[in-house]
Subunit: 204 residues, 2 copies
């Protein structure tokens, strides 16, 4: 590799590291003080990035909130859920997979989920629409899994509002679950699925 | 009644009305802009109360947050839940009563519950302890109902973490339920109880 190429790569790497530090600082500050309670200057100071570099990497505090919240309902979670939905497994197996993936995501991104439930409604315009679109897409996957299970006779007849309840069971864990708690994310998911499967699946 | 007595009563009444307006303004502003995003002066302006009168009625913004959050986990909800727990009904009936009372409370105090889930962790010291004490007391009632049902053989053996899940199902509804939605609070509670009862009660 030429010297110039190496210099470019090294400059890009340090740029991407600065951006990561800015996003990490925003996660810390938004979750500690709330979105409105955090100033852009404080984020720069926490990330150890000067004002010029800060505005080179971000357009606004709102864009930063969008980036942070993108980690909650990220492509990985939605893509994995789509794969689960299309898999040949039973509805019971699919519910178990969706539940474990969601609970693991919440416990590993607890600060981002805290910010989501505190401050997602501070987003406006396209940022708000994009986060809402992903949330709706994710919720639709659960609705589809239950509707498909109903079509095959696996799932008994119940109002689809139950999906809001199932998501609520999982989502609420951002408030109390910790990675060093009595039960792991997977164990909590197993307990919840005992209830959900018995409540939803015919013959259980 | 003497003139003096009547004057005192009228002054007390207008004082209590001013206080109600201040708390109502705080509910509006905290739920619109968040706790950190709201200044005490804005609360006074929204309540149409001067600075002097404002500080006559409240000690601090934090005290106001405490008063607002007191409406979420109020004595009424906890007292009703205690009455349900002690009633001679079956565990299935008790779950239904607890669920309906909680869901009705959330839909009728949606702004206060929004503030609770956004900003309860802004409380410090005794205010924080008092709200946490009431939440714990309320959660303990659910745990007791399930434990008593287990003792009588009505409830099957399941980890008590399920109570976190059941509360989460209900709590999350502050984010999506409205008083003019497709289903009433009671109907949503009925759907959730279908799942919970089938999931928890032996022989269902």
């Amino acid at each position: 590799m030429s010297r110039a190429g190496s210099a470019v790569r090294s400059s890009e790497e340090s740029g991407s590291r600065a951006k990561e530090r800015i996003v990490a600082a925003a996660v810390e500050l938004f979750s500690e003080r709330g979105y409105h309670g955090t100033g852009v200057a404080e984020i720069g100071a926490r990330a150890k990035v000067g004002r010029g570099a800060l505005y080179h990497h971000i357009n606004s505090k709102e864009e930063l909130l969008f980036r942070v919240l993108s980690a909650c309902v990220d492509e990985k979670l939605v893509t994995a859920a789509e794969r689960t939905r299309r898999s040949p497994g039973t509805t019971e197996e699919k519910i178990g997979e969706l539940s474990r993936a969601l609970m693991t995501d919440i416990v590993s991104h607890r600060a981002e989920w805290t910010i989501y439930f505190h401050d997602a409604d501070r987003l406006t315009g396209d940022y708000r629409k994009e986060i809402q679109r992903r949330r709706d897409h994710y919720e639709d996957i659960w609705l589809d899994v239950l509707a498909e299970g109903k079509a095959t006779g696996e799932v008994r007849d119940i109002d689809p509002v139950i999906v809001k309840g199932i998501l609520g069971m999982h989502n609420y864990s951002y408030m109390w679950m910790s990675s060093d708690g009595r039960l792991s994310a997977e164990q909590v998911s197993d307990v919840y699925c005992e209830l959900i499967v018995r409540g939803l699946i015919e013959g259980r």
